[in-house]
């Protein structure tokens, strides 16, 4: 992604501009606007961590803002505790709240998550009213104003807000360039694929949520001390806060540091100017402008202004690299290409039913180390369902799966990936907005922590499939073959003992099939066991050591290819007599 050094330099530049503005601006009221720009940018960045990076759009982030405000102020009122320390307590409470809210809520997908987040600030509003905290004013501390964050000089508040912004920028940058950042982006792009690549999506989302709650609480605390002076449930848990946050992030662009900065620098002054100039003649003009801004952005540039401008720059910039011919990886034959007798995976009596359909019935088989096991059968036989069970996406109703001698039935996909089971998908599930290298790095992160190590692991995985030269391309520019090779490389980067390949040859031309077969053989030669679903019988016959035939959820036959293809039941259910005749004629 970004070259690390220059990213940090850019942050320093922004802070420098902030300081310069603080010094240049004269009028007290203008200082207020500047403070607001910094604070809302920071709030936007906080929201961005969970909703931009991780893609979990939250409509209730103001709950942390409000907690920050209330806890800090109540500690001043009740315990005379300085807000400098009180903020720390508020952050702890907010992070705890994030855990308590996240635990049940992250089990919900998509829009349900967003709707659920609506409820929490509303509950807090009602509870705060009920507890008697309708209007909590900050007691004035004339003796030690600085100690209680009650500055006379407006520049002090500007700098305080700028400090909060700088800290949040740093936090965002650290996340962006860390393992967590890559994982969050993977989750946002395709959560299931991320899980299959060993990303425990629940824990990652929870980490992101906690990290996004902390700065929000700080912003809330500072906001009260610098801007509002009193806390009401409506002011801190209400619609205004989340609308402001959404506008800042969506207009500017989410999923990036710079979006909220652009959004805040643009929208906050605009709204304040409107309020000052026409606010009394046209009450609610701010709401109209914000609403219109959201609508226009969604119609014209849904990704946000920052991304729109950046893509414009990029499009004019580098041209597309010319398409090089795919180089088949070096084939390594020899002793390593022979299956052993060790049983890697045991499947015993697995059954799975959906409403009105028995997808799998009492499936049992073994997979031996280093073998290439083919799974065939007519459409609807249950092949992909079987993979979904082996991979952890589905829990079987009955039966057991053992891997390396240990029971693994019911473990989530990320756990299975970490144990050594990898997977590719029938339709390639790529992380669209990540480069090929970054896609593969997500897989590498299962085994390694530091980003540069993951990068080199990814590169060697790409080399193994012959895609080294496409490392910086985006998946949208790749052919089907390249996409499948990338998916395979990503899977290999997780250092699996066994890989489940779901129709890797689908949609490939003759040449592509040959390349893929050779790559798969290379995978086995390097010691990885392969279980492969395929429809293309000729290819599978060349590739597989053994075959399993499924039909209507049952195991029909198992054994060497030559044997299985002669089995009359198999011919009846799947191959057909004509196929047999054609094979015989060859």
């Amino acid at each position: 992604m970004a070259s690390r050094g220059r990213g940090w330099l850019a942050i320093v530049a922004v802070v420098a501009v902030g300081v310069a503005l603080t010094l240049l601006v004269q009028e007290r009221y203008h200082h207020r606007v500047l403070t607001l720009v910094f604070l809302w940018a920071a709030m936007g960045l906080a929201w961005n961590i969970i909703s931009g990076y991780a893609g979990q759009i939250s409509f209730g982030h103001q709950v942390f803002f409000g907690i920050g405000a209330y806890v800090t102020v109540l500690l001043v009122v009740k315990a005379g505790l300085t807000p400098w320390i009180g903020m720390g307590v508020a952050v702890a409470v907010a992070v705890l709240a994030a855990v308590l809210i996240g635990m049940p809520t992250f089990r919900l997908a998509g829009i349900y998550f967003g709707l659920a987040t609506l409820a929490y600030p509303l509950i807090f509003r009602i509870v705060m009213d009920w507890l008697g905290y309708q209007e909590v004013a900050i007691p004035m501390k004339r003796e030690q104003p600085g100690w209680f964050m009650q500055f006379n000089e407006p520049r002090s508040f500007d700098l305080l807000a700028l400090g909060v912004l700088a800290a949040t920028l740093v936090l965002s940058r650290v996340i962006e360039t860390s393992r967590l950042g890559y994982r969050l982006r993977a989750i946002k792009e395709n959560e299931q694929a991320a899980e299959a690549m060993g990303v425990d999506s629940f824990r990652c989302k929870m980490a992101a949520y906690m990290l996004s709650a902390a700065p929000a609480a700080v912003v809330g605390a500072v906001y009260i001390h610098a801007i509002l002076f009193i806390v009401t449930p409506e002011a801190v848990f209400g619609l205004l806060v989340i609308s402001q946050t959404l506008v800042v992030c969506l207009v500017g662009g989410s999923g990036t540091l710079w979006g909220p900065l652009v959004g805040a620098a643009l929208m906050v002054p605009v709204s304040e100017i409107l309020d000052t100039t026409v606010g009394d003649r046209l009450p609610g003009i701010q709401g109209v402008v914000y609403g219109a801004a959201l609508m226009l952005i969604m119609l014209g540039a849904p990704e946000g202004l920052y991304w729109r401008v950046r893509h414009a720059f990029r499009a004019r910039g580098g041209g597309e690299a010319t398409r090089l011919a795919i180089v088949a990886p070096p084939a390594e034959d020899g002793a390593a290409a022979v299956p052993t007798e060790t049983v890697l995976l045991e499947v015993r009596g697995v059954s799975k039913a959906f409403i009105g359909l028995q997808a799998l019935s009492d499936i049992s088989f073994d997979v031996r180390e280093r073998e290439i096991l083919g799974v065939i059968g007519p459409n609807g036989a249950g092949k992909t369902t079987l993979f979904n069970v082996l991979n952890g996406f589905l829990v079987p109703d009955r039966g057991e799966v053992r891997f390396l001698g240990q029971a693994v039935t019911g473990l989530r996909p990320s756990a299975l990936c970490r144990r050594g089971i990898g997977r590719t998908f029938q339709v390639p599930r790529t992380f669209q907005h990540l480069t090929v290298l970054e896609n593969v790095m997500v897989g590498a992160f299962v085994r390694v922590g530091p980003v540069h190590v993951a990068a080199s692991t990814a590169r060697s995985a790409l080399a193994k499939v012959g895609l080294a030269d496409r490392a910086d391309a985006l998946p949208t520019g790749l052919t089907t073959l390249d996409l499948r090779l990338m998916e395979l490389a990503r899977c290999l980067a997780t250092a699996p003992r066994l890989v489940l390949l779901d129709e890797p040859l689908a949609g490939l031309s003759g040449d592509g099939v040959a390349v893929m077969i050779s790559v798969i053989r290379g995978v086995r030669t390097r010691g990885v066991t392969v279980v492969i679903i395929e429809h293309t019988m000729q290819a599978l016959l060349r590739l597989a050591d053994r075959l399993i035939v499924l039909d209507q959820g049952r195991r029909l036959a198992a054994g060497a290819p030559g044997q299985v293809t002669q089995d009359p039941a198999v011919i009846e259910a799947y191959l057909g007599k004509r196929w047999l005749a054609r094979m015989a004629a060859r």
Binding site: S3, G7, I126, W258, L266, F313
Partner: protein, 405 residues
Amino acid sequence: MRPLSRTLIVVLTLALATPALFIRPAPAAEDVKIALVAPLSGRWARQGQLKKMGAEMAIEEINSQGGIKALGGAKIVLREADAGDSVEKAVSAAQRVLTREKISAGIGSWLSSFTLGVTEVAERLQVPWLSLSYADSITERGFRYTFQTSPVSSLQAEQALDLVTDLARKNNRPIKKAGIVGDNTAASMFFYKPLREKLLAAKGIELVVDDVWTPPLADATAIVQKLRSGQPDIVFYGATNFPDSIQVLQKIKEFGVKSPIQGVGAWLVTPEYVKAVGKEVLDNIQTVVAAHPMKGQEELVKKFKQRTGEPFMTQDPLCTYAHVWLIKEAIEQAKSADPKAIRDALAKIDISSGPAVSAFYPSRVKFDERGRRVGATPLIVQWQDGEPFTVVPTAVATRPIVWHK
């Protein structure tokens, strides 16, 4: 190259925004400027507009009578700022108006949370501020620049209870059971608290209904049902949110609840109520307020009605009118338009006549160390024939009270 273009974008945007920050206001004249921060738009716009009307009437009178003598006939100019419908807007409005020009004193802001926020700004900027808000919290912060002319809610509770128990006894319907029904806005809560905690018990009155809700109210049936079955001899009613209040009053009529209603605040005295529920529903409902036109103020009321076309004059314009006159008196005594000097003058002031005390009962303005008006006593206003009249104390009543069936 990329991070650099990113920085460029950000810097450009910040740079584009900054010129906006340098917009300067026009330079001010020699007049004395008084700020009014009140809701002039949004859901409480009516109340704010009424305050403005009161202020404008006072300013016109003062200016036409020669302005401020101590400053050589300097005229008063009103600087209004819209508090909108949120604390944010109110505080922002206060910040703006108090920093743009030299403001000598300010008035506002109707809703107690707005007033709390606005006075925080005024205190920091050292500009004296007059408020008619009832909440006790307004003058419990140790501020030096905030002056509260209304009797505080807790005091109102005590005095109102005394008044009604007296009246009830005199009319042979002593109060044995009471009800509290209303929302949990701050001013109302400050009223209920002493009632619940000691006042009712001290008089041997049983609290049979105690239902306080968070606005908005979904349905008034459950509450009014309790009134129907509990049958209190008096109901202390604090539904400041208009839509909630309408629902409750209509439901009371529908269920045929006969208990006398004792409102808690001036929100119950607006012409909109007549339009919304009609005279019959309102008849004989009374409410305790800080100010209402008293006996002897007919001229003032007539003038107000002519100027504005309003059907009657209420607390908001009346108090604001008096506040402007009060500031004028303070400036005369301080012989200066400097906010600090005015503050000192207000702290020492003690007057009992003139338009500056017109809104207050008893007719004396003197503030204690906290900024509360000494001896402040509430009035009781009652709806009769679709218009609210001061009924208690009888000395200043414009109509006799109609005690209930």
